[in-house]
């Protein structure tokens, strides 16, 4: 089956991993963190703000391929400090209320993991997502 690869650029530089890959009606994303597309750096050391950047990137990547956040099937959320768990879930919930209200009632399957570290020391959260392109 053909796959379609959408490249990822941070600060204008192409990364050795894709923004998304579409196979049939499935969309795979690279892990989305608080690093902004514009700078490649996290914009804040605040976990809530990093969550919003990550969710914005997921939303943008899904819209780029003709899907939407409401079509997320599965997430894996990596959170550096487990004490941030409630802030993370509240931020996610508020974001869904605003941009993907169907997920409030029909949420994705989700797994939560605390890693010892993420790609950069100042990254506090990273979200993996798989979605579908609905017909």
């Amino acid at each position: 089956m053909e796959k379609k690869v959408y490249p990822l650029y941070y600060a204008g530089k192409k990364q050795p991993f894709a923004r998304s890959v579409v196979v049939g009606n499935l969309v795979f994303l690279s892990g989305s963190s608080g690093r902004t597309i514009e700078t490649g750096e996290v914009s804040s050391n605040n976990v809530k703000e990093q969550m919003i950047v990550a969710l914005d990137k997921i939303k943008g990547a899904l819209e780029e391929v003709g899907s939407s956040m409401e079509n997320i099937v599965k997430t894996v959320i990596y959170l550096k400090h487990v004490g941030d768990y409630q802030i993370m879930r509240d931020t996610e919930f508020e974001y869904y209320q605003k941009y993907a209200p169907r997920l409030v009632y029909e949420p994705p399957a989700s797994t939560f993991v605390q890693p010892t570290s993420l790609a950069r020391p100042n990254m506090l959260v990273e979200i993996d997502a798989i979605a579908i392109i609905s017909e």
Partner: protein, 134 residues
């Protein structure tokens, strides 16, 4: 109804997980580490060598399932020491250039995770892979 095809693990010891499972156009692999198929232990304490063993196993598993490394869609890279990332990524790009050149221009999606431990204390890297069949 989609059926699944399960390819058993290729280790000399018996393990309760598959080498790969194929469902429709998708191929799911078990995590591939530096544990060799022969010994089920790492052959080296060097992260770059462990990465090479891991990628050889990914390549072999995908070929057995009727696909190739060029068809990788998603990877998750688990590292015991996050500071090894640059060396591991350089090795991985080098390996792709040699065995899956299409991935240089059109890379898979990827997620990097630092972990407290893998299956054995001397394991430094493990790679999870999802691919498509041609």
């Amino acid at each position: 109804m989609v059926s699944k095809i399960t390819y058993p693990a290729a280790y000399k010891v018996k393990v309760p997980f598959a080498r790969s499972v194929v469902v429709g156009d998708l191929v799911f692999l078990s995590g591939c580490s530096g544990q060799t198929l022969e010994t089920f232990h790492v052959s080296s304490n060097d992260v770059v060598e462990q990465t090479e063993v891991s990628l050889d196993k990914v390549k072999g598993a995908l070929e057995q399932a009727g696909t190739t490394m060029n068809n990788i869609v998603k990877t998750v890279l688990y590292l015991k020491n996050i500071e090894d990332y640059d060396r591991v990524e350089a090795k991985r790009q080098d390996y792709y250039r040699k065995h899956a050149p299409k991935l240089i221009e059109e890379p898979p999606t990827d997620t990097l995770v630092g972990v407290a431990g893998l299956h054995e204390p001397d394991m430094l890297v493990e790679i999870d892979v999802i691919a498509v069949t041609p």
